[in-house]
Symmetry: C2
Subunit: 305 residues, 2 copies
Amino acid sequence: MITLHTLGTGSGKPTPERGVSCTALFRHGEVILFDCGEGTQVQLTRSTLRPGPIKLVCITHFHGDHINGLPGLLGTLQLNQRTEPLTVIGPRGLVTYIRALQKVGALGVGYRLDLIEVEEPGVVYAEPGFTITADRLKHRIVCWGYRLSEPDRPGRFDVARAQALSIPSGPLYGRLQRGEAVQLPDGREVRPEEVLGPSRRGLSVAYCLDTQPCEGTLRLAEGVDLLVHEGTYGPEERKLAHARGHSTMLDAAEMARDAGARELVITHVSPKIMRPEVYLKEVQGTFAPSAIAKDFDSFELKYVE
Amino acid sequence: MITLHTLGTGSGKPTPERGVSCTALFRHGEVILFDCGEGTQVQLTRSTLRPGPIKLVCITHFHGDHINGLPGLLGTLQLNQRTEPLTVIGPRGLVTYIRALQKVGALGVGYRLDLIEVEEPGVVYAEPGFTITADRLKHRIVCWGYRLSEPDRPGRFDVARAQALSIPSGPLYGRLQRGEAVQLPDGREVRPEEVLGPSRRGLSVAYCLDTQPCEGTLRLAEGVDLLVHEGTYGPEERKLAHARGHSTMLDAAEMARDAGARELVITHVSPKIMRPEVYLKEVQGTFAPSAIAKDFDSFELKYVE
């Protein structure tokens, strides 16, 4: 299961009502942050999440409302006596940025900081449980969207089939479930596909801000379980939005529909929009499973059987 | 009149209850900020102050809880279409820091940014209404305390004396009040000291954090109207406090007493201290006009007649 927490859903400048960009994925006891605007660490303390288990931070671009909370978060993890390494992924310049902060003394961390600068579209991080893919977005400066994808999981274990094959219950069941072939006490070999149903799709989440509608988003969001997309402006301001490298909420819905996403969460809402919910009907008319996020909303992604 | 607003009174990491270091002076329609921890711009929007009239930002040192809010504040002033220049004073490294942020694109400002790196103790900023003096504090890294001092004002105008000298009321009164000598219609010359009382002291505020008790603070706080001093720890933790380059609340009170300050505001309180008010009696036993600040407290300084 993955839970998505919108910790900062505003754009440009933080307000008491909406923090600036940060979205957290909670997955198997670990937190993955997408963007880290000013105030992220306080939003974390206000949320049900805790900063301890942060594993990875993915920064889309260097506009202040997406990065200014990073130094403070990293410093607080140090005050919290973190010892585990932390990986930060971001655009070229990330190393320069971190080193400059360290040079003047604004950032002192004792734990290992693994910095990954995205150079080209593709997989930028991989571990057995998931991969992170980056693709180019279309904004005023270099900006990367991200997709977290879990690998497919083995199919459901068919107990009746296993019993019919006279496989003794116990550890052999577990090894077959994990996809291993096993040898039975009587010498026969059983392959996992003999007792497992069709493999089951892992979950995936795409995070695409800041951007106007673009091919990179379409690729990242293809068939995704949840697309987090910016909707800085209301539908009537499409021209202005695109001129500034942003999207309207309707753009986000069209993108979710065209990419075959299962659900859409719209974030990065302009602080000038006092009542974003007035746009929801029009947005849902284009893509029904759409939500416009507020700070501290959470969205649960469940495995499809 | 000067009003002091404590916008962030915590230390180390911000919490929902206490932001990290920022204190604002409101003086003749302008705001002067001392330190700019993460979240300062949101604290400003929550306060009765507005970010528009910020004239000057004085940064004591580069620990994150004193500077991490600066990039976001500067960016928001740009979004607010600021055109007036802004002066930022801070330790050596300030220019490197700002330029690094600009280089990666994390800080884009169109208004003029005047950066002043403090090199040695003394006056670091002066204008007709006030001066800013810096002095060395004693912390783990280079750290400057600041004092804002207004010049003395001319004495009170003595109307009875003016009438006795047969000075016609009107513009001549004003010129004498401003300290100019004037010639009367009958040819006599009147010097301002003939009609003005003794000159009146301008107001002064010293801002001393982060530091353990030191000579620099003693100099900055000498006879000051209001001393803002850190009190990271409770009185029982003096040894620990000094080992870390910090002060206890009692240190702050002793410093205010020894320097002959008129009032003391204690800030930079450790987030581990849940009820700082338990220390107030002991602190006030040493220096009676002491307060332990909370976020959004304000303190009014009035001219002494």
